[in-house]
């Protein structure tokens, strides 16, 4: 399978900020010897270089659907990136300190695109509910801006990957969605709500601005931004007309 390697190499080496970087020891596939490599994490791609100054990565690990686990510390500060599937390889890495190991395990376990998308959708929904209120029973009453109540929907919190306490020496940070796995969304249906219950129908006023066929939340902040600006323009117009008073 061809990969756009040149672009990958550019992504790895360009000056966009990395989510983590540092030296790690990587155990070879067949031989158990460790090689010290310079690792750079960007998004869901873990690149590794022979040297810190190398122009191109030796390789990359795509971090979708993996588990990050601590190893028995025979090697010291070791952890593993494990993929599902019986023939899948497990990448064993070792850091140079406890702090580095914890930092890498944390950042790798939250590196997947799926995880990022989950968090974004959750915040998107929260913002929608705060801005437009939620009609019907589920979301609770309309709250004035400035007040903050913890989420009243426990099933939504459970849909996010569990963050386990550090004290557990054998903690497993799950990078895959696991139980909360959304159903199949193949096809051109666009972004539907996945896994979590759909929000109640929005108040009629909102439908005037919603140019999409469905009344579900918009999928991008560009659309949200656009909606706000139209709403503001309309309110301003109304206000100006009221100031002018009734026309003769």
């Amino acid at each position: 399978m061809k990969l756009n390697e040149r672009s990958l190499a550019f992504y790895a080496t360009c000056d966009s900020p990395a989510d983590n970087s540092g030296f790690l020891y990587k155990r070879g596939e067949r031989h158990t010897a460790y090689h010290r490599r310079w690792f750079v994490l960007k998004g869901n791609m873990l690149f590794y270089f022979e040297e810190r100054e190398s122009r191109e990565p030796v390789g990359v690990i795509v971090l979708e659907g993996c588990n990050v686990e601590l190893c028995d510390s025979a090697e010291g500060f070791a952890f593993a990136i494990r993929f599902g599937g019986n023939k899948s390889r497990t990448y064993v890495l070792a850091a140079e300190s406890q702090v580095a190991m914890e930092s890498w395990v944390k950042s790798l376990s939250r590196a997947s695109f799926d995880y990022m998308r989950l968090v974004v959708r959750e915040l998107e929904k929260q913002l929608e509910e705060m801005r437009w209120g939620s009609a019907g029973g589920r979301g609770g009453s309309r709250e004035p801006p400035g007040s903050w109540k913890p989420k009243q929907c426990p099933e939504r919190l459970l849909a996010l990957p569990a963050i386990l306490p550090k004290e557990n020496g054998c903690a497993v940070w799950n990078n895959a969605l696991g139980v909360g796995q959304p159903p199949d969304t193949s096809g051109c249906g666009g972004n539907d709500d996945e896994g979590t219950p759909r929000p109640p129908p929005l108040p009629p006023r909102r439908r005037v601005f919603n140019s999409e066929a469905t009344v579900e939340s918009p999928s991008t902040f560009c659309q949200l931004h656009e909606r706000y600006s139209r709403e503001v323009a309309r309110l301003r117009q109304d206000w100006l007309e009221k100031q002018r008073g009734p026309r003769p």
Binding site: M1, A9, P145
Partner: protein, 149 residues
């Protein structure tokens, strides 16, 4: 460059955000449009010969530019080589627009910017950081200002 091909192939088999048969050409001399099954999964665009189970190739959609070309046509190019274009000829203008929209939102970096935006908005409205309850407010990847382009 080495990569975990088995996992990438497994990703290619997963449910797609978008999938369609589209005529496609690669930026190679003499390349012509050929019918391909094109599948968007997370920030990868896989393309298959229509009767095959394994993709011919995959494009990581980071630092790329999605351009609407002539009618029914869009292209993908990467910022370090903007003249090298992957071209896609859709069945209709509507399908073309839908793909352009979907691909523009497909990158990890776009998701990250969305997250930072929402986090900022919620924080402005409530005075509280919405990521605190998930214990991830200190994560480097979510910091305001660190990932501006």
């Amino acid at each position: 460059m080495r990569y975990n091909e088995r996992e990438l192939l497994s990703l290619a088999r997963q449910p797609a955000e978008k999938a369609a048969e589209i005529r496609m050409s690669v930026p190679k001399k003499g390349s012509v449009l050929k019918k391909r099954l094109v599948k968007l999964v997370v920030n990868f665009l896989f393309y298959f010969r229509t009767d095959e189970a394994e993709p011919i190739g995959a494009l990581l959609l980071e630092h790329c530019r999605i351009t609407k070309e002539e009618e029914n046509v869009f292209s993908i190019s990467f910022i370090e080589e903007p003249e090298r274009k992957y071209c896609f000829e859709c069945a209709s203008e509507q399908q073309c627009q839908e793909w352009v929209e979907a691909l523009k939102r497909a990158s990890y970096e776009f998701l990250r910017r969305s997250l930072i935006f929402y986090r900022n908005e919620i924080q402005k409205m409530t005075g509280k950081d919405p990521l605190e309850q998930y214990g991830i407010s200190e994560e480097a990847r979510f910091q305001l200002g660190t990932h501006q382009q």
